[in-house]
């Protein structure tokens, strides 16, 4: 129930729009738990989402929220964070919104290492538009636009974001909620671009077309196919085929974009006083 996160939600807007068994509600609550346990100033927390199933979340979240245009949440969020760095800025995006149309903004925000907490709901499908494949749909899987099986290769979005420069990268699942909450808390405490891929499930489109059973079966699939990154390091690659590696995948420290800009302002203004500009 919502007891501890009730005040973080616009509960008068519930029940939410997501289909029976969709994992997005689980991920959304994990985000709220992460925020609550990080005791952030709730009045100084902004959540920005794009377009798609995941991105309907902002309508239910009791913060300053923006439900932006498809793929552009991270670019909006960059404006929010740079203009007012004291705000805690979260981005909620999906595998389509974030890795397809939003890919360019994703890699550049990671490159800049601007302090955003990006949670990508990965249900392997464009759910809102009825089940098309996305850049994260595994090869061979079925969708309305890959009726003969997806011929494309998919991103490893965590590797991609890490290569682009993100200073915290993790992957969690709807099944492993406690871990997901911890990963989100780590993302929040990281002063830089933090990215959490939250593996969730779409039983209506992806699950049904790929014969993965119902919602509970898809959750159990996550339970049985997720391998903790620490364990995975000791396993043979073949053993990891088809598995999803979860946990904290990457962490480093690097200068944070808005702090760099504040230093630039201080330098410029001191320089200006220096030579009486």
């Amino acid at each position: 129930m919502l007891i501890d996160v009730e005040n973080l939600m616009r509960s008068h807007r519930l029940p939410h729009i997501w289909c029976p068994g969709c994992g997005n509600g689980i991920i959304m609550k994990a985000i709220l738990e992460g925020i609550r346990e990080s005791n952030l100033d709730l009045d100084k927390t902004v959540i920005v989402s794009g377009i798609g199933c995941s991105s309907r979340a902002t309508g239910y979240l009791n913060f300053d929220t923006i439900h932006t245009t498809h793929g552009r949440a991270i670019a909006f969020a960059t404006g929010v964070k740079l203009a007012k760095p004291e705000l805690n800025v979260f981005v909620i995006t999906g595998d389509g919104d974030g890795a397809a149309i939003g890919g360019n903004h994703l890699i550049h925000a990671a490159r800049r290492n601007i302090d955003l907490n990006v949670i990508l709901f990965n249900n392997n499908i464009y759910g809102m538009t009825g089940g098309q494949y996305s850049p994260l749909t595994p090869h061979g899987k079925f969708a309305t636009t890959s009726p003969y099986g997806n011929m494309e290769r998919s991103f490893d979005i965590c590797n991609l974001v890490q290569a682009a420069g993100a200073t915290y990268v993790a992957r969690g699942t709807a099944f492993h909620t406690k871990m997901l909450i911890d990963l989100i808390k780590n993302a929040i405490s990281n002063k830089g671009f933090s990215f959490v891929e939250a593996v969730t499930m779409c039983p209506i489109s992806y699950g049904r077309r790929n014969k993965m059973g119902n919602a509970p079966d898809m959750l159990k699939w996550q339970r049985d196919n997720a391998v903790n990154v620490k364990a995975a390091q000791k396993m043979e690659p073949e053993k990891l085929a088809g598995k999803i590696i979860i946990g904290e995948l990457h962490r480093e420290t690097a200068p944070e974009y808005t702090e760099l800009y504040e230093q630039l302002i201080a330098r410029v203004r001191k320089g200006a006083e220096g030579d009486g500009q």
Partner: protein, 73 residues
Amino acid sequence: MGEVKKETKKYTVEVKQQWCKSCGICYALCPKGVLIKDQLGKAVVKDPALCIGCRICEEHCPDYCIKIGGEEK
């Protein structure tokens, strides 16, 4: 060594039926069969005494219908 009498904790299990979408996650994951489905597939509490307070149902209900009361696990 005598059997240490395990003191059984009491938990309350509350289901908000109007928000339940019959997704079946809770009664599929509950390790103790506390929850079962009614004829509409909605979650119903069979027997709260069986509940061990693991909160798997509460954490995995996508629609926030389940509330587990009793001592913090």
